[in-house]
Amino acid sequence: MLTGLLLLIPLLFMIVSLLMKGKQSGYVALVSSVVSLFISLCMAFTFQHDDTVQFELNYSWISSFGIHFHLGVDGISLILILLTTFLTPFIILTSLQKETDNSNVFFALILLMQAGILGAFTAMDSFLFYMSYEVALIPIYFICGLWGGENRIAVALKFFIYTLAGSLFMLVSIIYLYLQTPGNHSFEISEFYKLNLSSSQQSWIFWGFFLAFAVKIPIFPFHSWQPSTYTIAPTAGTMLLAGIMLKMGLYGLIRFVLPIAPEAVAHWNTLAILLCVCGIIYGSVIAIRQNDLKKLVAFSSIAHVGLIAAGIFSMNAQGIQGAMIQMFNHGVNAVALFFLIDLLERRSGTRLMDKFGGIASVNKRFAVVFAIVMLGSIGLPMTNGFVGEFLLLFGVYQWNMYAAMFAGLTIILGAVYMLRLYRNVFFGEISEASTSILSMSMLERIISYKLVALIILLGIFPNLLLNISAPAVNKLLNLIAHHSNLSSIL
């Protein structure tokens, strides 16, 4: 019931929002997102902390193909649902800060995207998952292509085709799995778990899904759409992409790849983690010299999600739990960073680092907020980033010490590029662009304080989230462990 509402609300409000004009449509979207947040909180509070799928909704949809409209929520889904519903209001509020042309379409697209993402996170049927995964792609394509910056059409098109091409491999894999299911065939994900696939079958499935998700996440070297798309997209689009959408890829790894093809993961994860670690170093090193703040965060994001993926591929409780909490944390931190950069850009008309300087003298409040968000993203203890990074690195460490050593460079390089950013933007003499950052509006303050509070709260009480996903992750690990032949490999 609640799950159904969760999907229905944004879709309904989307229609209302389309009928409105100007800012009104934004307010409609805001109401919708707050209602969604409320529903998801209801879910979180009534959620039984065990490994079952709850809040289920199951209708036969295209019965001739065994496709069901089957929604459900377990601990893994719930964290991502909370992430989506927590961030969407912030994203809409950020967009409300400035004038947008055709804002009714813009906000309707955001709501459509939210519905698509939530659909992917709650789908218990692989066809439904695939569909939601693609539905979420269309609005973001338009958001980037219509409201983006310089060169937006080419960039958005490349992004669209790249991710679409990637997900076709997933579609093939899903259809193949469907054909393997016994009897009348089924697209149920849980049915896929029961398949006893041979090693080579698993390898094909692994690569099919991997390509789709590697583009989405993105894992090095499938990331080249990401920096340009993040940069040209309007801030709301960047937030949606970095904060929420890429988590669909990571979620897919956990939901499909690990339980369906565990042997293949155990076989191929050396390569996969190698790519992730390359991405961590590559993204961080590039971020060191970026001058465009958005681009800097975009490259740092490649490093951060690379670590999350590496944790997942290391196939142990710490790695996967670390991934769960870090998906949430990265969402919060990325949205917070993009929000603050957007504020800078709106006031001063630029987001080039060397144009700023001395903001700490101009606006202390803003400087403090930015500092805390920065500390969260470089993983200082008692901020949210630390818990995730710690668990992920420990997960990788258990898999291989050297991998963890190289992945761990992120804590050094992260400090290098973020402190450089902070020094250039906030310290030193006051530059001309900085003088425009005199004050923050009430709304901006509320948004930033909430994000900061979340960063600290989750740093001190990470178990609030970890306990939600723990049983489901445990179940997943059991599923992997019981899979034939795997005990001999691991």
Partner: protein, 637 residues
């Protein structure tokens, strides 16, 4: 009081929150009262804990508050450990910390960032207390990174200066390099013992044999962390730069407390280090080399704070030698006496800088003993304490380390003795340049020169007393003393100390004392002649620049070296990745595959030319091909 231990770190945290949220709104007096008061209350509780512990006889108490992180079989508690090691550290941190807070009220009085300063200082106290109180390695790590953050914030306190903020970044990043080592050690501890809880780790580590490879690796990783935090080779260059921060910060963070965190951590892990002789050896050698190198650099520095900074690096090296020799209580003894006299030296230097309106160059000082009598007296005692003149504090602690080195390895003993001589040289040079001779500064400075206010001189006097008598806690048996401190620490270090001080003959100890005394007096005469002149022109400082002089003055070119082999290549790599790999290779491949598809489709498109003749031809070719292949098939079958 032991039940109130959670308040010890919490009170400064509350102080931080109040001063932090209210900066600009809270008056300077209130900010000072909150800042100092919270530390004072903590100190009272610590004193109570110390007293109760004496009654308990040194038994460790662990308090667990809540489970912080759970993931799989990994569980990390938010818990505090009270034993004699943490009690001594707490006493040092809150005691010296309180004095420095009080001093700061006077020192920072005209600074616009007064409230912010106290907020940061309190945050530092919180982190440092978590560091020494944490009952597991992760708690220690929280404090460890926390003090690193405060150090960053306070080095860059005057953030308008680009150089200062560069120093702040450098400190944080170098510490993070060490922290990665710490983290890896932490992971290996988890992997090996399934927990990072001190008591559980140390009880299960006893089943390992000496020289076990895992333990060696753990201790090595942890030592990398200590190298960063305690500024040892090769991660020491941040500490001298860290002098960019206000002087009380240098005294508290970069001399008395934070930089000794590495020593604390190894002393805490003493059981593991005792089982890893090769790591211990390594620790001792790194410590000795650092001590020598830093002492040598300190000889030629002209910035009053830089001399003291290199001196700190050098003294930390001493402590690591003691740790490496498994003389843990000697290391802690030196941590303590060093906290007294080095804090005093920095605060005294601060008093001088304050009096001279911000002047830090010793060449522009001189003759200050007449103008700053209290500062002069206290600094004189501090200098005697650090050079190890009996009966001041440094003599006893340094004597212990030298004795331990002598009984273990001649190599270490020679290096440390050499360093002692260097210490005496640079300290007397510092002392004479500052307080003797003629004043060499500007007229403006001499007109405005003044002894510091009471809030600054009072901490100086208290620290002077501590520097004078602090050695009493560890009077060696040779002098008929009873070593209180090593007995006090018996619960913590117990049987892990390989070298007992009574192994060395009393004769040696007497010899050592006499020789060091004679040496100190000789060097005193030498430096007095050299620096206590009416006029110190450029002539003395700009003697022929010998190679050694240049090396010392330029700090062995380590910064330049790091710039060449790390900073520049990293920047180059960044540009290369971005301009070549990202734009050409990766994006090129993606765009290339897009263009290939486009090209192929345009080829296919041209097949659909609309020419019927062409279609028929294609059809015929197709049919022939099919027939041909089916023919081949039937033949091969």
């Amino acid at each position: 009081m032991t039940d109130l231990v959670w308040l010890v770190p919490l009170l400064p945290l509350i102080g931080f929150i109040i001063n932090g949220l209210g900066f600009g709104k809270i008056s300077k007096n209130t900010a000072a009262i909150i800042g100092c008061g919270s530390v004072f209350l903590s100190l009272i509780i610590v004193a109570g804990i110390f007293y109760e512990d004496l009654g308990r006889g040194g038994e460790a108490v662990q308090k667990t508050y809540f489970t912080w992180i759970t993931a799989g079989n990994l569980s990390i508690d938010f818990s505090l450990l009270i034993d004699r090691l943490s009690i001594v550290m707490m006493l040092i941190v809150t005691g010296v910390g309180l004095l420095i807070h009080i001093y700061s009220v006077g020192y920072m009085h005209n600074d616009v960032g007064f409230g912010k300063f106290f907020a940061y200082m309190n945050l530092f106290m919180f982190s440092m207390l978590v560091l020494v109180l944490g009952a597991n390695y992760v708690m220690l790590f929280i404090g460890w990174e926390g003090v690193g953050l405060c150090s960053y914030l306070l080095i860059g306190f005057w953030y308008k200066n680009r150089e200062y903020t560069a120093a702040a970044n450098k400190a944080f990043i170098m510490n993070r390099i060490g922290d990665l080592g710490f983290l890896l050690g932490l992971f290996l501890i988890f992997k090996t013992f399934g927990t990072s809880d001190f008591q559980r780790v140390f009880s299960s580590v006893q089943s390992f044999s000496s020289g076990d490879i895992t333990i060696t690796l753990i201790t090595l990783f942890l030592f990398i962390g200590a190298m960063g935090k305690s500024a040892q080779i090769p991660l020491f260059t941040w500490l001298p730069d860290a002098m960019a921060g206000p002087t009380p910060v240098s005294a508290l963070i970069h001399a008395a407390t934070m930089v000794t965190a590495g020593i604390y951590m190894i002393a805490r892990s003493n059981i593991m280090y005792a089982l890893a002789p090769s790591t211990s050896e390594f620790v001792a050698v790194v410590g000795a080399l650092t001590a020598l190198m830093a002492g040598f650099i300190a000889l030629t520095q002209t910035d009053i704070k830089k001399v003291l900074a290199y001196s700190t690096v050098s003294q930390l090296g001493y402590m690591f030698v003691a740790l490496g020799l498994t003389a843990y209580s000697s290391a802690m003894f030196h941590v303590m006496t060093h906290a007294f006299f080095k804090a005093l030296l920095f605060l005294g230097a601060g008093s001088v800088i304050h009096a001279l309106s911000g002047e830090q160059n010793m060449r522009k000082m001189g003759g200050l003993r007449k103008h700053l009598p209290i500062t002069f007296i206290t600094m004189a005692i501090a200098t005697l304490a650090i050079v190890g003149f009996p009966p001041f504090a440094g003599f006893f602690s340094k004597d212990e380390i030298l004795t331990a080195a002598y009984s273990h390895s001649m190599f270490l003993f020679v290096i440390l003795s050499l360093t002692s001589v260097l210490t005496v040289l640079y300290m007397f040079r510092f002392f004479f340049l500052t307080f003797f001779g003629e004043f060499r500064g500007t007229k403006y400075q001499i007109d405005h020169i003044h002894e510091s206010p009471k809030s600054m001189t009072l901490p100086l006097l208290i620290l002077m007393v501590l520097s004078a008598v602090g050695g009493g806690l560890g009077i060696p048996e040779a002098l008929g003393g009873k070593h209180f401190l090593s007995e006090y620490f018996n619960h913590v270090f117990g049987g892990n100390t390989r070298i007992q001080s009574h192994e060395v003959s009393h004769f040696f100890e007497y010899g050592l004392m006499i020789i060091s005394m004679v040496l100190i007096i000789l060097i005193y005469q030498f430096t007095k002649q050299r620096y206590d002149k009416k006029v110190i022109g450029k002539s003395v400082e700009e003697l022929k620049m010998s190679l050694w002089y240049k090396l010392s003055l330029n700090k062995f070119y380590v910064d330049e070296l790091y710039d060449k082999i790390i900073v520049k290549p990293l920047n180059g790599m960044s540009n290369f990745f971005f301009n070549s790999i990202e734009k050409k290779v990766i994006d090129g491949a993606v765009n290339g595959s897009g263009q290939t598809v486009y090209f192929l489709s345009s080829m296919l498109k041209s097949l659909q030319s609309g020419n019927i003749g062409f279609y028929v031809l294609m059809m015929v070719i197709g049919i022939v091909a099919i027939l041909f292949f089916s023919l081949i098939n039937t033949i091969t079958l």
